[in-house]
């Protein structure tokens, strides 16, 4: 409490008393029945009167007293107004910020989870789950076990030691209740206070603190992926982990936050291999619906092997819910692919079919075998059948157009060109920003297939090249025959249909979905919009926007080294250039560098009227697809629901 406030409080009663005394004293004399409240009031008045008397005795007149009181009152009023103004300002600023957010979210695809949201979630989770003793590099930067080390007194990795910039490292921690005031403290003490506050409920060593440090730009860089402006974290009591408050501030999507909290509560259940897979998926290390599905099944085998049934339940009942926790986390990496969804549905059914009386060990072994068999049957053998079937379609010396990269198509083309020695020509059409076709083109070229690589922008020219077939891969085929595949497929299929070129889709029946969808807006996946903006070939690391602290430092060091090199080279440049001073030149160079590193749409996040959409999939209507080649043979797209209906049990 400030001094002035204390004064003003003490000053208020007299002024009140002045007005009240005459009437109330009379009333008190007249009536004896008084409530507690009235009694209190009376006492106050008495006190005030006494004080006034004292002051009078000290030589201050009543008028003077009144004046003083009035002054204090005014002062307080002023203060109050000022504070209100400040609050208003802050509120407005917040509102403004929120508005900006809302504008960014209120696009056509506002209902879809953005990569930012996904990254923030994963960040919160990985920081919570990662072991307290070791530091980890996550999507957002370095996770340092500050509290643990600070408490134990061992070598403390403070922010200043990590970051090359200033010692004024600070992190703001709002302890326990989110509503309580935030306190700004130096990093280590903040961590300590957080530690002690939760020490009663949890072991302090379990607490981790992410270091957000020094100047704002560095902080922003450290946590660039979640666009953190001030390093604020919210420590959930009893969970002992950090959630970036940005998560709560920037995404008014309360369900997201609650889902994160839910995940954090169950974090002990999560198997490390699932975490690894999640990070692989989130960073697009494993792409394609089939590879993702295979990776998931493999991890599930490990998870099931390590699973121990808790006491009091049976494996067939508990394992499903245990797997659900793992799947919840997987969902956070990227939305589950249809193949993954189908496989999970199958697995859950298999688990529920296990006889509760079978011993755990046998049941687990059985399940793992079944998973292996499922992968073999539904993917490997299915691919073989598809390749056999599709090969009958490909004649000698045909030209085939494909789009993007598909595992089964690559195998099909290799099989035809190499094993069957058909003289085929493949045109791989590709698109920004993923450039998946490069991988396929490279594989085919390495095997000696005649490949042409082109971007989708030159589609018209490509179709003028006497193309015989368009072969497409799929992410999924929906119940109404719509093909859900990499964005750009629809364009390709429609162009092909216009020129009467047959469009064939190769697709395992595992990819058939029960869903019906008429446009690609209702359900889709949003990729990082930054991918569309920065094409920084000089500095590919910065392209993704998720820079770890170490990486940043590395980049900085590199820059420094480069500068050094440039300095060393300067004399020569001077001799050639002649007149310009070295200082002026270096300034020029740095300016040039700045303008180079800045792309046209770099600041799109700040531009309220600019939205960037980077969607991953689109829908191709069935009338553009001639046939779908599956392991059940060639079908028209209208037969997808038939397969789903007839093989619901097995698929």
């Amino acid at each position: 409490m400030s001094e002035s406030e204390a004064k003003s409080r003490s000053a208020t009663p007299p002024s009140k008393a002045k007005q009240a005394t005459p009437t109330t004293t009379a009333a008190a004399n007249g009536e004896k029945k008084l409530t507690n409240k009235e009694l209190k009031e009376l006492k106050k008045q008495e006190k005030a009167a006494k004080r006034a008397a004292m002051k009078q005795a000290n030589g201050i007149s009543i008028e003077q007293q009144q004046q003083q009181a009035q002054m204090k009152k005014e002062k307080k009023q002023l203060q109050r107004e000022q504070q209100q103004k400040r609050e208003q300002k802050q509120k407005n600023a917040n509102k403004k910020k929120q508005n900006e957010r809302n504008v960014k979210k209120s696009t056509l695809f506002g209902h879809l989870e953005t990569t930012e949201e996904r990254r923030a979630t994963i960040l919160a989770l990985t920081s919570a789950v990662s072991s307290p003793k070791t530091s980890r590099i996550t999507a957002a930067g370095l996770m340092v076990p500050v509290v643990a080390s600070a408490l134990s007194g061992s070598n403390v990795l403070t922010a200043s030691s990590l970051m090359p910039v200033g010692p004024n490292a600070s992190s703001t921690v709002s302890a326990s209740a989110p509503a309580s005031t935030t306190t700004t403290l130096p990093a280590s003490s903040a961590a300590l206070s957080a530690g002690t506050s939760s020490a009663s409920t949890n072991t302090p060593t379990a607490i981790q603190q992410e270091i957000a440090s020094s100047n704002a730009s560095d902080v922003a860089k450290t946590l660039a992926s979640i666009s953190l402006e001030a390093g604020e974290f919210n420590v959930i009591p009893g969970i002992s982990s950090v959630i970036p408050t940005v998560l709560e501030q920037s995404f008014d999507n309360s369900s997201l936050i609650s889902s994160v909290k839910e995940l954090l509560l169950n974090k002990d259940l999560i198997h490390p291999s699932i975490l690894l897979l999640t990070s692989h998926l989130a960073h697009y290390k494993i792409v394609g619906s089939i590879p993702r599905c295979i990776a998931m099944l493999e991890v599930f085998q490990i998870v099931i092997k390590d699973y121990q049934t808790p006491k009091g339940t049976t494996l067939s009942r508990n394992l499903t819910s245990y797997l659900s926790h793992q799947i919840d986390l997987l969902k956070k990496a990227r939305p589950l692919s249809v193949t993954m969804g189908n496989a999970i549905r199958w697995l859950k059914q298999e688990i529920s079919l296990i006889d509760p009386s079978t011993p755990d060990k046998a049941a687990k072994k059985d399940l793992c075998e079944k998973i292996g068999q499922f992968a073999k049957e539904k993917i490997e053998l299915a691919d073989q059948l598809i390749i056999d079937n599709a090969s009958t379609q490909i004649e000698e010396s045909t030209t085939i157009v494909t789009y993007g990269s598909s595992k089964v198509l690559t195998e099909l083309l290799l099989h035809n060109a190499i094993s069957l020695k058909k003289n085929i020509k493949v045109i791989v059409v590709d698109s920004r920003p993923l450039f998946e076709g490069r991988k396929m083109a490279e594989t085919l070229r390495n095997a000696g297939v005649n490949v042409m690589y082109a971007l989708i922008t030159s589609l018209d020219t490509i179709f003028n090249m006497d193309v015989d077939y368009v072969f497409l891969g799929a992410h999924s085929i929906l119940s109404n025959g719509f093909l859900y595949s990499r964005a750009g497929t629809a364009m390709l299929a429609m162009s092909a249909k216009r020129r009467n070129i047959p469009v064939l889709v190769c697709c395992e029946s595992l990819k058939f979905s029960q869903r019906v969808q008429l446009d690609s807006v209702t359900f889709n996946e949003l990729a990082d919009p930054n991918d569309l903006v920065n094409i920084d070939y000089e500095n590919p690391v910065e392209r993704r926007g998720n820079k770890g602290a170490l990486l940043n430092q590395f980049i900085k060091e590199r820059k420094f080294e480069k500068k050094k090199l440039a300095m060393e080279n300067k004399p020569k440049g001077n001799k050639i250039g002649g007149k310009k001073g070295s200082e002026g030149e270096s300034k020029d160079a740095s300016n040039e560098e700045d303008s180079n590193s800045k792309n046209i749409l770099d600041g799109w996040q700040e531009l309220p009227s600019l939205n960037i959409v980077n969607i991953l999939y689109d829908l191709t209507p069935p009338e553009y697809i001639k046939k779908v080649i599956t392991e059940f043979g060639a079908l028209p797209p209208s037969s997808v629901p038939v397969i789903l209906r007839e093989y619901k049990g097995s698929a």
Binding site: F632, L635, P636, V642, I643, E646, Y647
Partner: protein, 305 residues
């Protein structure tokens, strides 16, 4: 009978019974084969059927509907083999049921006529391309029901099946006129609906039929006239041609080699074509009236259950 020739048997069946369609003749030939060869094991039986089917398909130039019959029989055998523990019993059952299948398939044409008669109304002008027993039995049935309709029959070159149909309809007393194939476009506006048969129905619901069907289909589609395919369900075949040149044919679709001076001999080209499903309004079959997409459903049901 020491030497059994599947092709001869097949041709003999077709000769003996003019009402018999090619797939049925193929099935009957295969049943006869089983009766004569009496294979000892299941594997031997499957191999025998397979090799005979291949031989038959190779020896007959126009093999689409024949293939459908062989497919059905093979499927039938494979499905029934493991139902019986006792081999002798199983073989007996297969032969008996094979014949049952044949007799049932013959009846299906009457069923089609029953179902399809609703599609013919009084005062209709019906265009028919090619001669199909199923189409004729339908028209015949409609005439018996005293529906007053008229027919336009195409000449259907090069097989000239149209002449055959013309005489049959004439005998029946149905008002009929014969036009050349190239006149279809000229009369299509006057016609109310189009009926064609099919040699085979592909998985997509498109049909493989006498050459010219495709052109009629496109013309009908363009003139917004309903185009009905009248066919037995045993002609459904597990093929998925994308266009006419995907069909199994004796020679190349276009033959540019030099011929003799005889102009009649110089006339060559495909004898069958493929009409895609988008030109077909409905298929009138013994299973009921199907949309083209339902064909694939029926085939899937038949092959995997």
């Amino acid at each position: 009978m020491s030497e059994f020739n599947i092709t001869e048997t097949y041709l003999r069946f077709l000769e003996e019974d003019t009402e018999m369609t090619m797939p049925i003749a193929a099935i009957e030939a295969l049943v006869t084969l089983l009766r004569i060869k009496t294979p000892e094991t299941a594997a031997e039986m499957i191999n025998t059927i397979k090799s005979s089917t291949e031989e038959l398909i190779k020896s007959i130039p126009n093999s689409v509907s024949l293939r459908a019959g062989c497919d059905i029989f093979m499927r039938f055998v494979l499905r029934n083999l493991h139902l019986y523990g006792d081999w002798e019993n199983c073989k007996q059952h297969l032969i008996e049921n094979g014949q049952l299948f044949v007799s049932r398939a013959k009846k299906s044409r009457n069923k089609i006529a029953e179902i399809g008669v609703d599609f013919i109304a009084d005062d209709d002008i019906i265009l028919v391309h090619g001669y199909s027993r199923a189409v004729f039995s339908l028209l015949n049935h409609a005439a018996n029901k005293f529906i007053r309709f008229r027919c336009v029959v195409t000449e259907s070159r090069p097989s000239k099946q149209g002449n055959q149909l013309y005489t049959l309809l004439e005998q029946k007393g149905i008002p009929v006129t014969l036009i050349v194939d190239s006149a279809v476009g000229a009369v299509i506006d006057k016609v109310d609906k189009v009926f064609v048969g099919a040699e085979g129905v592909a998985e997509s619901g498109g049909i493989i039929n006498l050459v010219g069907t495709y052109s009629v289909g496109v013309l009908a589609h363009n003139a917004r006239k309903p185009f009905y395919v009248v066919t037995e369900s045993h002609k459904f075949v597990r093929m998925f041609p994308l266009s006419s040149d995907d069909l199994p044919m004796a020679g190349p679709p276009l033959d540019f080699t030099r011929r003799t001076d005889d102009l009649e001999d110089a006339l060559r080209g495909p004898t069958i074509d493929y009409t895609a499903q988008e030109y077909i309004t409905a298929l009138i079959t013994d299973l009921g009236v199907l949309t083209p997409s339902a064909v694939s459903e029926e085939l899937i049901k038949m092959w995997y259950d």
